[in-house]
């Protein structure tokens, strides 16, 4: 259907993105099923380029007047500093970046899984959600690009509660995870944090994947956006290759088979590939759309997202370092209050444990005031198995120089 608008508006530089999403959800409350939800969503994103501007329009329907409005926006706007054309129609073979079995998962199946969770639970579940999401996307442009892709996700969130404490867990995957083992782990965590908490310090601090991901997304990754660099709202720039005091790699990769944000192409139809944001501790690349990548002399890695850019899957790699004693941080609050430009954050650590050869002890809540730059400048290395939380893949990264305020 959308290709007819490309033909009708021949002579204009247009990209039309069409997504159709179906979600099935089972909501839990107070150890029972609260309600089931079924959603059908549709959205069109029209991007129109004129000589001096770009017009973006999002709508859940499409017609000629919507396209005209996007073109009108592009003519009012004066935000096109460079234009290197629309992404060409490269011939690439589509891959599946999700487990096909997710497509067959019905709301009845989700209901059965929910009942199984409720039946096997040993602790109170105050709130929870199990969902399946299938997104079909098609991108066409005036250069003849026409691509289609499908992506499926399984997500859950479970909040456990007892008289003294609570423990929340969530996950979103492009495959079906081992839920029962996750649940057992969470119930053990709830029990663990119900014990008497102590005050303790350690030279070494490990953020688990969830908390590290929270800090990365709120306090760090915006610095890699080409738009923020152009607006001087980043610590980095295109000319000087910023160097951290330690050696590590931060990789942006949208082509991982089970990657949460991996798929065949981005919102402009550009194929997702791998790029090193940081290589050996030196800033090496950024998140670009097609035109910005061409303009600044980088290879586009497929990071266009709506009218902006966003990371794909991220991998952190550092040398091996395993301390005997360390503090493992498992739940933080306030990461979203970080200053993403300076990378400064000030958080409350609600759930953390002291890990030593004598065993593990839950810690009283404490605060940390630091910055992501300071953290990575004090990265000692990593240990353990590589795991995935949403779009972050990493081992346990060990940081030093962190002051815990009780």
């Amino acid at each position: 259907m959308i290709e007819k608008y490309i033909k009708k508006f021949k002579g204009f530089n247009l990209i039309i993105n069409h997504s159709q999403e179906t979600d099935e959800e089972v909501h839990l409350k107070n150890n029972s099923i609260d309600h089931l939800n079924s959603l059908d969503k549709e959205e069109f994103l029209i991007t129109a380029y004129s000589k001096k501007g770009i017009g973006y329009l999002r709508s859940n329907f499409i017609n000629e007047s919507i396209i005209r409005k996007a073109i009108k926006l592009s003519k009012i706007n004066a935000d096109l500093k460079y234009f290197h054309g629309l992404p060409p129609n490269e011939r690439t073979q589509n891959q599946k970046f999700y487990d096909s079995r997710l497509l067959d998962l019905t709301i009845e199946d989700l209901h059965k899984i929910s009942l199984q969770i409720l039946k096997n639970r040993k602790e109170n579940i105050s709130e929870g959600l199990l969902s399946k999401e299938v997104v079909k996307r098609r991108v066409v442009n005036s250069e003849g690009l026409d691509k289609e892709d499908t992506k499926a996700y399984f997500s859950y969130s479970l909040d456990y509660v007892n008289k003294t404490t609570n423990f929340s867990d969530y996950g979103s995957y492009s495959y079906y995870p081992n839920l029962l083992s996750e649940i057992k782990k969470n119930e053990n965590s709830l029990k663990f944090y119900s014990q008497r908490k102590i005050k303790a310090n350690s030279k070494y601090v490990v953020f688990n994947l969830k908390t590290l991901n929270e800090l990365m997304s709120h306090a760090f990754l915006d610095n890699f956006s080409y738009e923020n660099i152009e607006k001087n709202q980043s610590l980095f720039n295109f000319k000087t290759k910023y160097r951290f005091k330690t050696k590590f790699d931060l990789i942006n990769d949208g082509s991982l088979k089970k990657g949460y944000l991996s798929s065949n192409f981005d919102f402009e139809g550009v194929r997702k590939t791998r790029s090193y944001l940081v290589k050996n501790g030196q800033v090496n690349s950024f998140f670009f759309n097609y035109n910005a990548a061409k303009h600044y002399g980088f290879k586009p890695a497929g990071n266009a997202y709506y009218s902006s850019v966003m990371p794909n899957d991220l991998i952190i790699k550092s040398k091996k370092f395993e301390p005997e004693n360390y503090i493992l941080i498992e739940e933080i609050t306030g990461a979203h209050t970080a200053n993403s430009m300076t990378s400064e954050f000030s958080i409350l650590v609600n759930k953390a444990r002291l890990v030593s050869k004598n065993g593990e002890k839950p810690l009283k809540p404490f605060m940390i005031n630091s910055s992501m730059v300071k953290l990575f400048n004090n990265l000692l290395g990593s240990f353990g198995k590589e795991n995935m939380d949403l779009n972050l893949i990493s081992k346990n990264q060990v940081f030093s120089g962190i002051n815990l305020i009780y």
Binding site: S32, H35, D40, E127, Q233, G334, I347, L348
Partner: protein
Amino acid sequence: MDDFERDLVKQIMDSVNKIGKKHNLDFYSALIDNESSETVMATKDKISAKSYFFQGIGIRVLYKKKQGYVFTQKTDKKSLQAAFEKAIKVAKFNTKTEIWQGKPIKREYLYKNNNPDLETKTKRIKETIKVIPDRKKEKVDIENNFRQTISRRGFVSSEGRWIYQEIPYSSFGSKVVLLEKRKELGIAKVGKQKGFEIEKVFDDKVIKAYKVAKKLQNAIIPKGGSFNVITDGVLTSVLIHEALGHASESDLVHQQDSCLKGKLNQRLSDKEITVYDDPTKKHAWGSYYFDDEGIKGRRVAILKKGILNEFLNNRYTAKIFNTKPNGHGRSQDASFLPLVRMSNTYIKKGDFGFKEMLESVKNGYYLKGSLGGQVNTLEGDFVFNSYYGYEIKNGKLGRPVKNVSLSSNILFVLKNLIGIGKRYEEDFPGTCGKGGQGVPVSGDNPKVAIKNVTLGGK
């Protein structure tokens, strides 16, 4: 365009009613969402406008006392019929539940949109870039955003409720980056349920953002630890929202996830502190006439003279707690079932002047502005981050400070209040997140002084 959209929503409301009545349901309701917005962004060398349109219908059914919810964006009768059938199908899997049901009500709230065209708005935003003149010795970058949304929401239900409301949202935000000495970002914003008339304060906000960035350049990061603090009106808004507001949401109380469970009618503070949540405040960012379950929004005194007085509720929790809903069931949009939410939360002003507060605190910090906050409602621990502030030394303001977050506990704070300011300050429009949904909230609050809160610092 306005009349067209208005008529469209009303047509869908009528279609839903016709189809809903044909099914043998204990209850049905539909929330019809029609939202259009324009955003204009300007920097020194760019001006860009974006447009967004969203429409959707959320259908909720109680079939044999079992609840199902379906969202669709297709508005033809056949699709609406299919949506009802699907809602009944998913309800069949559910366990039994009950919700509060009331009497028929018909209301309509229209907004007369007399806003200028996009070109005029673009021109005005472009002007705001020139508010801070280029100085040779000072490198400044600036980004200003204006967003205007018209929300049209229709609600119909089997109990005969027919509510149509149009609410305008206009917000302006300025980001000023100072590039020399130490790179710092100053932010200032305004958000009202008004139209383009808020442009009168655009220039003031840009200047404020610039002044904040200037202050930050000279600010120090204080040492962490336990201190007495004064929070300005903006920070008080976040404090009371995080510290008391969330724990007073009755769904969390019911889920055993609130530290206020079992404390209704108990004294929580020695001070005569009163806290309201009020969705009826004119032009405030978090206001509405009726909530997203068709219940009239009502001001609720959560805390009355230090005593826990009333929880916020929706149709579901009202039934559980055997009371009437007080109009706090809200959805981000029609694709979500409403949750219990706050609107505009504020502390009733007290009798402390600023000088008196400084003298009472003696040594500590005066903290201003907010980058947001978060709470663990069961344990009552919360954290929020101020934008900047000052040391207080011997009852007087000292050096500027930055990147300071405060952490404490709800019940502790209420017992450790030093005083409440005698003037309401600038309100703080924001988006509150809960259960994956964001809704507009606000609050104009006085300053408060608190003993012994933990500050995150060096």
